[in-house]
């Protein structure tokens, strides 16, 4: 299982609907496209960020990011 797939699984376990792509020279960056379950907006609140960082780090990513474009 790739880091990205594992990260998506861990985020889903936490109730977060997000797609994750690996980027960077060695795939060290997790680029997340994330939406609330109601689809309203990207989540940048501290608690949401903590969950995203924890789960993606657990999947092996060094840098956890939200896609800007």
């Amino acid at each position: 299982m790739s880091n990205a797939t594992e990260a998506e699984r861990l985020l889903a376990d936490a109730g977060l609907d997000a797609s994750v792509e690996s980027a960077g020279l060695e795939g060290e960056v997790a680029v997340i496209r994330y939406r609330h379950r109601d689809g309203s907006s990207d989540a940048l609140g501290e608690e949401q960020r903590r969950v995203l960082v924890d789960r993606c780090s657990a999947a092996g990513f060094r840098y956890v990011t939200l896609e800007l474009f």
Partner: protein
């Protein structure tokens, strides 16, 4: 001994070191440390025996150059600018973790040439006592070439230098660190003038759209990873600001960009090898 007395003792020791050097060339970036060192050297030795030299290259941030000029003018510091060519060195351009060694070796050799040509005694740099706790390949270059670090020799830390700089009225006392632009490029990706320009351009544009506590644009090979202070991350929930940030990054030439959810942290690009290489010694410099 009180904190204040300890500071005074260290500053006296610094003045003694500088006095013993008699005449000095100072590697002068316009940052907190080298500005304070140059200020004290000027006060201790006088303008005929101090020359602050700034090495300019595509990796040296323009905003830092502006500060160097401002400091030199504000205290009538003799100031010389020279060109450095570290990007021509394959060891530097390869961007391995020892990149700083090649950069500093290039700079110090040119400073030593200036020293010999102009009849000065010694070349100094602004490394401080905190730098001893970091892995800093540039320090190895300094020791090999006989460059001295008086702030480090007398045990002055960055925090102490900021306090003394404030007392001295230097504008640098509260400026954030502004390390070389190459530190934004992920290790293993070649350092090129084009990449450095894109990073500097992006950061300049981003500073125009918002006042950031900290800001770094990290380059991961076609992907810009934006680091801002953790306290500033939530501000990007605001659609208008996020749109302006996106436009700034696009205008700087990036095809793809992302926002780091942990925010700015010192030496973030060293995290890839930090644990293994640094062991218990901590980070890899102020990047």
């Amino acid at each position: 001994m009180s904190r204040s007395e300890a500071l005074e003792t260290k500053e006296r020791a610094l003045r003694d070191v500088l006095s013993s050097c008699e005449s000095v060339i100072i590697g002068f970036s316009g940052g907190v440390d080298s500005s304070f060192l140059a200020y004290v050297a000027l006060d201790e030795l006088g303008p005929d025996r101090v020359l602050a030299v700034t090495g300019r290259s595509p990796a040296y941030p323009g905003v830092q150059h502006e500060m160097a000029v401002k400091v030199a003018r504000s205290v009538d510091l003799p100031h010389l600018e020279i060109q450095t060519y570290e990007l021509d060195d394959p060891g530097y351009a390869a961007n391995a973790p020892d990149r700083c060694y090649f950069c500093k070796a290039e700079l110090y050799q040119r400073l030593l040439t200036v020293m010999r040509e102009r009849g000065f005694n010694v070349v100094l740099d602004g490394s401080n006592a905190d730098d001893l706790d970091d892995h800093r390949p540039g320090l190895a270059a300094a020791r090999e070439l006989g460059v001295r670090s008086p702030l480090q020799e007398v045990g002055l830390t960055k925090a102490e230098i900021r306090i003394l700089s404030k007392r001295a009225g230097l504008p640098t006392w509260e400026i954030p660190a502004s390390p070389c632009l190459a530190s934004r490029i992920a290790y293993g990706l070649e350092v090129t003038p084009k990449r450095l320009r894109a990073i500097e351009d992006a950061e300049a544009r981003l500073r125009e759209v918002h006042t950031w506590r900290e800001l770094r644009v990290r380059y991961h090979g076609g992907l810009a990873r934006l680091e801002v202070a953790p306290e500033d991350i939530e501000s990007l929930s605001e659609t208008s600001l996020r749109e302006r940030v996106i436009q700034a990054l696009r205008d700087a030439g990036f095809a793809r960009a992302c926002l780091d959810l942990q925010g700015y942290r010192r030496g973030a690009l060293n995290e890839s090898f930090g644990r293994e290489a640094a062991g218990a010694r901590g980070g890899f410099g102020d990047t």
